[in-house]
């Protein structure tokens, strides 16, 4: 009828096309995870029925030759551990930068660089450092590496949360008679708990998804993290497509749940605190 209606129609069409584009690969993987090796060729899109065979197989080391449960445990330990390290170290640094401008622009650039540089440039030195410090093949080693990578994220995200707490609060608490230690942990930190939580989740997500260093530093099938554990599915009968799809879904399910919980802060995390929502 008029321009307004036209825009509405185009919008809804666009939304539908976009939804199909974004969701099809995920849905297709979901469907494939219920197909046996033979059914994959018989049923191009939807599975015949929702058989859980592939899921049973991948969780059974005897059948699949993989150690998914061990991988999940490794991923959880390393993600959580690295999150703790970077949150503790990064939060107090973020407070210092937010309140005292510690380090000025140089520190800003320095920390930013660690996030801008491709991880691969750290591959050789970190491999050697880990090898000769005996931390290779340990959870701690990988957690320390992830902690370092997430540090920049934690610092800039937490800084943007601290910046939202007026500095008057610090001064008021100090004039009330509290020490600087109390000011931070009793008065300022409680006000950024939601931000801290979101940041922690983001750290976990990034660690959970990481592949390169997990590949380099974890070499036993028992302590490999999930992305490495599910990377290849070439078995006796060629590519085990169904199992690959099932394992992929297992890996991303917790991430999807986490991401939905902290949606509100996702943009801030992705832009290092640059864009707020």
């Amino acid at each position: 009828m008029n321009a307004k209606h036209l825009i509405k129609i185009i919008t809804y069409l666009g939304i539908i096309v976009t939804s199909i584009f974004f969701l099809t690969p995920i849905a297709y993987t979901f469907f494939t995870s219920f197909k046996t090796q033979v059914e994959i060729y018989q049923y191009p899109i939807f599975p015949k029925d929702f058989k859980l065979d592939n899921y049973f197989i991948i969780f059974n080391p005897k059948l699949s030759g993989r150690f998914i449960l061990w991988n999940i445990a490794s991923s959880a330990i390393v993600s959580f551990g690295s999150m703790i390290i970077s949150i503790i170290v990064g939060t107090i640094a973020a407070y210092s930068i937010s309140r005292y401008r510690t380090g000025g622009d140089n520190l800003f650039f320095m920390i930013l660089t660690t996030r801008m540089a491709p991880p691969i440039v750290f591959a050789v030195p970190i491999f050697l450092i880990m090898k000769y410090s005996g931390l290779i093949n340990t959870y701690l080693g990988l957690a320390i590496v992830y902690g370092a990578f997430n540090l920049a994220l934690v610092i800039w995200m937490m800084k943007s949360f601290f910046d939202e707490v007026p500095k008057d609060i610090d001064d008021a608490a100090q004039i009330d008679g509290w020490s600087k230690f109390h000011v931070l942990f009793k008065f300022v930190l409680p006000r950024v708990y939601p931000g801290l939580f979101a940041t922690a989740i983001l750290c976990i997500i990034f660690a959970w998804n990481e592949f390169l260093f997990a590949l380099l530093l974890m070499q036993s099938p028992y302590n490999q993290t999930l992305p490495v554990g599910i990377a290849g599915f070439y078995g006796e009968r060629g590519w085990e497509w169904g199992q690959m799809a099932a394992a992929g879904l297992i890996a991303i399910l917790p991430i999807y749940i986490f991401a939905l919980i902290i949606q509100r802060h996702l943009v801030r995390g992705l832009t290092m605190g640059g864009v707020k929502e």
Partner: protein, 298 residues
Amino acid sequence: MGVAKSSSIERHWNKLLILPTMIYLGIFAFGSFGLVLFLSFTNIAFRGEISRFDIIGVENYAKAIMDPTFLTALKNTFILAGVAVPVEMLLGLGIALMLNQDIKGRRILRSLFILPMITTPIVVGNMWRLMYNSEFGLINYVLMSWGILSKPVPFLGLPETALWAIILVDIWQWTPFTTLIILAGLQALPTAPYEAALVDGASSWQIFRKITLPMLVPTLLIAFLLRFMDAIKIFDIVYITTFGGPGLSTEIVGLTIYKEAFKKLNLGYASALTVLVLFIVIILSNIVLMIINKIMRR
């Protein structure tokens, strides 16, 4: 003058808080950089133990700038970033504009649209291996049943299509990122200029062109910068889908360094490549920052 009598913890409180970070980053970022810079002048090789370790000067660099694999990898990396990122920006802007309107189920759509971006890259690679598969993959199935293709095409297996197939994967995974940032930018825009333009009598297109777009420029720049720097980092997806092949058609710098260091075990040469890549990244990010500064100032 200072607060001399106060306890020394309070006096150095700000430095104390930042100290762990300095140590941490000192070892990892700068220790690593120093180490890699040093190794790049050696021929160090590694097979479980260090098997070779001589200082050979700039030999690695001389070799690198003539190395067809490395040069092809650089070319591919920049084609990928140069094509994928602008497409992601345009799509992101379009989708954000759609989501910014008053439509039903906007929140749910927004939640669904972030899924590709947070999916484990290795899983993303595997998903698209299924999609692209020439024997049963969905894409071939659909294209053939619509009559667009007469016979299946192994998109990831042909030198002509492999890089483009990976670019599409990158677009799939990262368009949500630009969408989300641009949407946040749109929602942060003040409504007053928009309403003023309505009262002034402007049409929707005029409002977008003259009011919305100019105000959105800073957000677009942030999104572009972050996305471009990230696109250069691509590794996992190429590793799992093509491992650089066929031939060198999808070779990217991350993969070249990885293969040199951990397959061919030339740590020295890999270090030199690393330094070169880092150098390019730093120059590039400075150029981008400079351009952004210029535009912002205008």
